[in-house]
């Protein structure tokens, strides 16, 4: 890799990253040992360098609940569409036409602007073979990039971290939310997650408490001296000798791993709160949860956090009833929030570096149900936003003709893993086959 650096010591590592820029402390010998071990491991893999200034960034946006893709990218000129959806069908005059056949939902004016500016790619009919209609399972399939009959332990983003980001800053992956998504599950867990930077911290009831916490979690101190482990009680501390050279981070005693995480937590929490209060947004965002999440992501990018992948989500797409109103609100919020984020990135001068990719666990049934909604379905569109995307409509719109449906659902034309392969290879610049389990043809989108 062109601008790859080799990590010599943890000290050098921290110096080179934003997280370490404010630190003036001596690196314990113990730490540099583990770090040189890490380095030897990293040397064998295509480790990616995080500079915080010029690396490309992927923002994954989950539309949770199963978005009705058919009323998002609308085949407004298709008779089968209007026949299947007598009450939910959107009329041509309420559509933002992309061509003579399909158009965007009327609430997505902001996406139409991005489309016209050549910054939006609409990938049609994305799904996978043998689709599963359970939220739980289908989300898991998207998160782990597995075949629908296989259980994968780790997530596709986690496997990217394992394969390409050994030794990276813990903030290489950032999830805005309370839970780390399954996509981040990894052999060597990485990435941080928080919903509110003000709460991503040690809460102290006084300066003395805070100072004591910092001392107690200082790594140099928690490695005990060998002679202290004598006595009939079993010593709690980790011993350096337990960590042979060349062992990965997860080797050695459990407490050593936790000590390193504690140090990462301390520094990343200081830094993130610093950025959040220092960096100003340069665009107006909707006051929604998604708007707030993207506002925060923009600040973190502006503050130079060395992150390759951000993960945000928007819920509420499980529209079994009263779909018209709720989807109108959600899609409007989605388009407006992403557009604000794009504006912010442009004002920051960072839009060249950023790609936003949306997904939802499944689309919905072609025929509407009796409650003014739609039930769980299969394939649906994905949106990819960036300055370097192949803008326009990609792939074929799946046929809505009843004889072409499978159990009432449209069939996919594009395997979602071809989109993952594209962002991995052409955006994050890493080989996709080791991460996705086999070679998927990258979608010509980036």
């Amino acid at each position: 890799m062109k601008n790859e650096i080799t990590l010599q010591t943890r000290r050098e590592f921290l110096r080179r990253t934003v997280l370490g820029s404010s630190l003036a402390w001596t690196v314990p010998a113990f730490l540099s040992n583990t770090f040189s071990a890490l380095q030897s491991e990293a040397a064998d893999s295509a480790t990616q360098t995080i500079t915080g200034k010029d690396a490309t960034i992927l923002v994954v946006l989950q539309m949770a609940g199963g978005n009705d893709g058919i009323n998002t990218v609308v085949p407004y000129a298709n008779d089968f569409y209007h026949k299947a959806r007598p009450t939910l069908g959107l009329k041509a005059e309420n559509i933002l036409k992309l061509n003579d056949e399909v158009g965007l939902h009327g609430a997505m004016g902001s996406f139409k602007k991005l489309y016209d500016a050549g910054q939006l790619s609409v990938v049609q009919g994305v799904g996978y073979p043998n689709p599963n209609r359970s939220h739980f399972r289908s989300t898991e399939i998207w998160q782990t990039a597995s075949d629908s009959d296989r259980i994968e332990k780790n997530g596709w983003i986690g496997r990217y971290f394992d394969a390409a980001c050994a030794g990276a800053d813990p903030a290489v992956g950032v999830t805005i939310g309370n839970q780390l998504p399954e996509a981040f599950f990894a052999a060597k867990p990485k990435g941080i997650c928080f919903s509110n930077p003000q709460n991503y911290r040690f809460m102290a009831n006084g300066a003395a408490t805070e100072a004591s916490y910092k001392k107690l979690n200082d790594l140099e101190m928690s490695a005990p001296l060998p002679d202290e482990s004598a006595g009939d009680m079993v010593n709690s501390g980790g011993s350096i000798a337990m960590l042979p050279a060349g062992m990965p981070m997860t080797g050695g005693r459990a407490v050593d791993f936790i000590s390193r995480t504690a140090l990462d937590a301390q520094h990343s929490s200081d830094e993130i709160r610093g950025i959040a209060s220092r960096v100003q947004n340069q665009a107006q965002y909707p006051g929604s949860q998604l708007g707030n999440s993207l506002r925060l992501v923009a600040k973190l990018i502006g503050g130079g956090l060395p992150t390759r992948i951000y993960y945000v989500s928007q819920g509420g797409y499980d529209t079994h009833t009263n779909q018209l109103n709720s989807q109108q609100r959600l899609l409007g919020d989605l388009a407006d929030s992403v557009k604000s984020f794009v504006d912010d990135m442009e004002a920051q001068g960072n839009m060249q570096r950023v790609l936003v990719m949306t997904f939802s666990e499944f689309g919905r049934r072609v025929s509407e149900n009796a409650n003014g909604g739609t039930d769980h379905g299969a394939a649906a569109p994905m949106f990819i936003v960036g300055n370097k995307v192949k803008a326009g409509l990609l792939g074929q719109y799946p046929s809505l003709a009843p004889q072409d449906l499978f159990q009432g659902d449209i069939k996919y034309n594009v395997d979602f893993r071809c989109a993952y392969a594209a962002v991995l290879e052409n955006w994050l610049k890493t080989k996709s086959a080791p991460i996705l389990g086999r070679q998927f043809a990258p979608l010509p989108v980036v």
Partner: protein, 494 residues
């Protein structure tokens, strides 16, 4: 046969290790009691739990309720869309309330119940069979499976595997209830072999297809909420599984699975990992599996050997396991002799820490080990420690309240928070008057209680300095000292 621990190595620290792993730890008096029983007595006290009566009542809704099912069904059938929505919403709320009650009920059992090892095994089986309420939905089924794990906690491998397969929650969870002769559903057949009993590479795709045929007929009766064998959907034909051919049914299939030498190896490795905190070496697992087979696949005598073995008390095993969130919460309440937070708060803590009981992340269950620890969950543990010891609500809500005391909704919020208020640590209960007056004694007594070992001298000094910085040392300062001790990497292992 594993090598037994020599009796003269048995001491307080070993007893603490046993209680931490075979149960959820406990205060010094409990450890001392076990230490005095000697290794055989201590293990028997934990393992022969049938001798101890357990009077905990079941939740009052923990029984089949056909009337409720019929009422709901009929109601939905004749309802307008609006009424239907209302009925569904009511049912959802009822289910949510019951699930919250169920979580609290189980946590109470783990924390204060008289049979810690039985509950620890229930936790193991829950993680192993990893059934989630997200799909099963009905709290009664979730309770029932939990109860099944309790009844068969240390029973026989084949008995447990068969009973779990016929358990309604499992029949729903892995779609077996929907499997028909004409369209066998392979989900359960596959997971029995891949995730529950053998592991990848120990069966073929053909075995799965044939096993799915054998399992047809395992179904449930929706109204009575019971397992039901339906002969007319069972495939009566010949099946070939693991190279054996016959007119197998589901029971035969499970018997064939457990007959595989790999079935013992698979479960002994998982049990060792759960109790010892790391995967066993090939050689050790050979011994473990041989031991389980020698005991006719009965877990109780197997566990007796495991807990008695020298390997279980080895230096790289003791204090080298990352506490699971449940272990962290239940164990903290036990060593601090304080109250368990109300179910809603406990649930919130466990969810944030990554172990949402009755809702494991996927069919593989929780990964455990170091994956429990991220920068975020570690800071959350440190902050939840404050809530626990001070008896306050978790920081997020307390902070929000502080921000706008008179603001809109502030009063209502305050009322809610008042209900959530927890006990906190009572310093008088865990330290003697003498100890409380001397900072050296405070640190020594607390580290003995919280770690059953000593911290390093720098850490001890930091804690003494903290107490020194207070002009007049109060109980609140001691409580903060406890929180600081819990805010260390060392407290996260057991």
């Amino acid at each position: 046969m594993l090598k037994p621990l020599s009796t003269d190595r048995w001491n307080y620290a070993m007893a603490a290790h046993l209680l931490n792993r075979a149960g959820f730890g406990g205060p010094p008096a409990e450890i001392l009691q076990l230490a005095n029983l000697g290794p055989d007595g201590a293990i028997s006290f934990l393992l022969d739990y049938e001798k101890i009566s357990d009077p905990t009542p079941d939740p009052d809704w923990a029984k089949p309720d056909p009337d409720e099912i019929i009422k709901y069904r009929e109601g939905i059938k004749n309802a307008t869309p609006e009424e239907k929505r209302k009925l569904q919403q009511e049912q959802q709320q009822l289910f949510q309330r019951r699930m919250m009650e169920l979580r609290g009920w189980w946590l109470q059992r783990m924390t204060f119940g008289p049979r810690p090892l039985q509950e620890k095994m229930v936790l193991f089986w829950h993680g192993h069979f990893a059934t989630s309420v997200e799909k099963v939905r009905n709290p009664y089924f979730m309770w029932r499976q939990n109860d099944l794990f309790r009844r068969f906690a240390t029973d026989n491998w084949q008995t447990l595997l068969t009973a779990t397969g016929k358990d309604p929650a499992m029949l729903i969870w892995l779609d077996q209830a929907q499997s028909r002769k004409a369209h066998p559903n392979e989900n359960y057949a596959r997971e029995v072999m891949e995730l529950f009993a053998l592991g990848e590479g120990h069966y073929t795709e053909h075995d799965i297809t044939e096993a799915a045929r054998a399992l047809t007929g395992w179904s449930m009766e929706f109204q009575t909420q019971e397992y039901l064998y339906r002969p007319f959907i069972h495939d009566q034909g010949q099946k070939t599984i693991f190279g054996k051919t016959g007119n197998f049914d589901g029971d035969d299939f499970i018997a064939l699975v457990v007959e595989q030498p790999q079935a013992a190896r698979f479960i002994t490795a998982k049990l060792w990992n759960f109790f010892a905190g790391q995967m066993p070496s090939e050689k050790l697992n050979d011994q473990l599996a041989a031991s389980l087979r020698a005991q006719q696949n009965n877990f109780k005598p197997f566990l007796r050997e495991l807990f008695r073995s020298e390997e279980f008390y080895a230096d790289d095993i003791v204090r080298n396991q990352v506490k699971s969130p449940v272990q962290w919460l239940v164990g903290s309440v036990r060593v601090l002799e304080c109250q368990l937070p109300p179910p809603l708060i406990s649930w919130g803590m466990l969810r944030q820490l990554g172990q949402d009981l009755f809702a494991p992340p996927n069919v593989k269950g929780w990964d455990g080990g170091v994956t429990w620890i991220t920068t975020n969950t570690l800071l959350t543990r440190y902050n939840d420690a404050q809530s626990l010891v001070e008896g306050t609500v978790p920081p997020l809500k307390a902070e929000d309240l502080a921000k706008k005391p008179g603001g809109p909704g502030g009063q209502k919020l305050e009322k809610v928070l008042q209900r959530m208020r927890m006990g906190g640590v009572n310093v008088e209960k865990i330290l003697t008057p003498d100890e409380r007056s001397d900072k050296n004694l405070i640190v020594a007594a607390l580290e003995h209680r919280l770690f059953q070992t000593v911290l390093n001298s720098d850490q001890q000094q930091t804690l003494r300095d903290f107490l020194d910085s207070k002009t007049k040392m109060s109980d609140a300062d001691i409580v903060t000292t406890i929180r600081l001790m819990m805010s260390t990497p060392e407290y996260q292992v057991t």
